[in-house]
């Protein structure tokens, strides 16, 4: 699938809300770079306010970057909107369709505004909304609205599809159906950029992902690379009278009361060393638990764990963003 052609290229991208200088404004995207190859599914992860949506809107050409460069299919998505738009599909975080139109009327309107649109019945069929064609948008459930939005994004058979939290508000089954659809699109050669805060979703779908915090990409790579870059953890409880100081120095142990946590990049070696030590010293390790980093752990650590400085940064950022809009 990956032919090596870069469909999306982003370098040093910045987005600022509010005044360009001084304290009044807020920089939501702070110099990020990445690229997405044709046929790839790229996921942007991050907590709320990390800058995912602000980034995706720049890729979609909804706003002009305040710095850096973005190319989609070789064009500037903001200045060369007319060249890029017919080849991309966009699903916003919150769909906006008039509540008094029916599903079919909405699809007809959107099809008339889309070059090379497929048949609307076909698009509604694909997301399972065909039986709801005559229902007004306001009577749809939240999940059905997300699916209508997805159907509209697919109407022009896009080469590149942008999905901003596509499964938020869907139940488990709807989420799986959407995943299936996205996988099939990807199989058909569509390049997909997805934002999500469901780790499972990224793990399930993404070829590559980037985790954002406070407007920056903290880590990126394949899900395996991202988790591999995080330490594994060994946890156990020491018996009374055995201080953690007796553990071999090579194990970097942290104590929480009698509970001990060891973080290691080489799980097998550290674990062997620990177990040999325990046998030699005849120490029982209660509640022993050893695990490699999961994407979820990696995410939580990266997204929240950047120390008090980063957390504060994010809070002021969110407040400033609310004020600046």
């Amino acid at each position: 699938m990956n032919t090596g052609e870069q469909v999306i290229e982003v370098s040093g991208l910045r987005r600022r809300y509010g005044p360009a200088k001084g304290d009044g404004g807020f920089e939501a995207v702070r110099g990020i770079s990445f690229s997405v190859a044709r046929g790839e599914l790229f996921a942007l992860l991050g907590t709320n306010g990390a800058g995912k949506t602000s980034t995706v809107e720049l890729l979609e050409g909804m706003a002009e970057p305040s710095g850096g460069r973005v190319r989609v299919l070789g064009h500037d998505p903001y200045r060369e909107r007319a060249r890029v738009r017919p080849r991309i599909g966009v699903m916003l975080q919150e769909g906006g369709f008039p509540s008094d139109l029916t599903v079919a009327e909405t699809a007809r309107m959107w099809a008339g505004c889309t070059s090379g649109a497929r048949r609307t019945s076909e698009a509604l069929e694909a997301v399972g909304l065909a039986p709801r064609a005559d229902v007004r948008v306001k009577q749809l459930s939240g999940g059905e609205r997300r699916r209508l939005d997805l159907a509209m994004a697919l109407l022009g058979r896009p080469e590149v599809l942008f999905l901003d939290e596509p499964t938020t508000g869907l139940d488990a089954e709807g989420r799986r159906e959407t995943w299936r659809l996205v996988r099939e699109l990807r199989k058909g050669g569509t390049t997909v950029v997805l934002t999500t805060h469901y780790l499972e979703e990224a793990e399930e779908l993404a070829d590559r992902l980037a985790i954002m915090r406070a407007g920056r990409i903290v880590v990126s790579g394949t899900p395996a690379e991202v988790t591999a870059s995080r330490p594994s953890r060994i946890r156990f409880t020491l018996p009374e009278g055995v201080p953690a100081a007796r553990l071999p120095l090579s194990l970097r142990a942290a104590e929480h009361g009698r509970r001990v946590e060891i973080r290691t990049g080489r799980l097998q070696e550290s674990l062997t060393e620990l177990l040999l030590w325990a046998r030699r010293e005849e120490v029982a390790l209660a509640g022993l638990d050893a695990r490699s980093a999961s994407l979820e752990e990696a995410f939580l650590e990266i997204a929240h764990g950047g120390g008090p400085e980063a957390a504060e940064d994010e809070d002021t950022a969110r407040a400033a963003k609310a004020g600046a809009r």
Binding site: M62, V90, M109, C113, A126, D149, R325
Partner: protein
């Protein structure tokens, strides 16, 4: 759910307008633009028909206002203006229709599309910004133009008025009025947060136009200096052009002044909309 082919279209869409194909490209783009406008206008018409308040404002308000006006302008100071009561009511009826049908309906329409995130969603597609604003306006503009045509026909058929003396000026006045009303509605939507508050934000232009643009009291009946100032109001040139066009009598200088004022207001509104129009709700 079932999925169908979604294959990429890597070869289409790029490098279309090269070489001698520029004209064909422009023609194709114009056709596409028309298609998008038609789709959007059709959806808006459906929404208009489903919205009772909007339908009432669009269809009955103008009739009610013209009748109301007929009963209040009996005492209008018409000596020396060359206008009969019928002339005044019927020629004022056209700008009145433009305000009541286009301006008053479009503000809440733009506001509710913005608050429902429809404008933002539309902007993710191939529609140009102006197409989004124009497409939303087309149904009410069509209703307004039809009512203007009815007014002119009724004047000739029922009220023994002459057919328009200079139809070109009349049409020009109506078209400039339409453009002005659409743009000022978009500009008014900027300061309108909910569809309900549109009833208040619409008042300034509505009141100023009714009172100061010569619709109830002809500007010819006012002191010259006051009339000169009032002629600078946005709807005044539209009222003047409609009167010159329907009843005749506009000196070339007066016609030019009206055209200049109307175009100036249109440019100011274009600037205001481009500069300040918001496509999504405030957070």
């Amino acid at each position: 759910m079932s999925t169908t082919d979604t294959g990429g279209r890597a070869d289409t869409g790029s490098g279309t307008d090269t070489g001698g194909g520029a004209d064909a490209g422009a023609a194709r783009e114009a056709a596409a633009s028309l298609g998008r406008l038609r789709s959007l206008a059709r959806a808006e018409l459906t929404l208009l028909v489903r919205n009772r308040t909007a339908m009432f404002t669009a269809l009955l308000m103008p009739l009610a206002m013209v009748l109301f006006m007929r009963s209040t302008v009996e005492q209008a100071p018409l000596e020396g203006t060359g206008l009969s009561v019928t002339d005044l009511v019927m020629t004022s009826g056209i700008p009145m229709v433009l305000i009541l049908v286009v301006y008053l309906n479009l503000i809440p329409a733009y506001v509710s599309r913005r608050e429902e995130l429809v404008l933002k969603r539309l902007r993710t597609g191939e529609l140009r910004d102006w197409e989004i604003l124009a497409g939303a306006a087309l149904p009410v503009v069509a209703v307004a133009l039809a009512q203007c045509a009815v007014l002119v026909a009724a004047g000739a058929a029922l009220l023994e008025m002459t057919p328009p003396d200079r139809p070109d000026l009349l049409v020009l006045g109506v078209l400039l009025g339409v453009v002005l009303m659409v743009l000022t509605a978009a500009a008014t939507a900027v300061i309108t947060r909910t569809t309900e508050s549109a009833q208040i934000t619409a008042l300034p232009l509505l009141m100023v136009s009714l009172a100061g643009s010569g619709m109830f009291v002809p500007l010819e009946a006012m002191p010259d200096r006051a009339a000169d100032v009032l002629r600078l109001l946005p709807m005044s040139p539209v009222v003047d052009l409609v009167r010159y066009g329907w009843l005749g009598g506009g000196e070339p200088g007066e016609v030019l002044r009206a055209l200049g004022t109307a175009v100036a207001w249109a440019l100011v509104s274009v600037f205001a909309v481009r500069r300040w129009f918001r496509w999504e709700p405030r957070h």
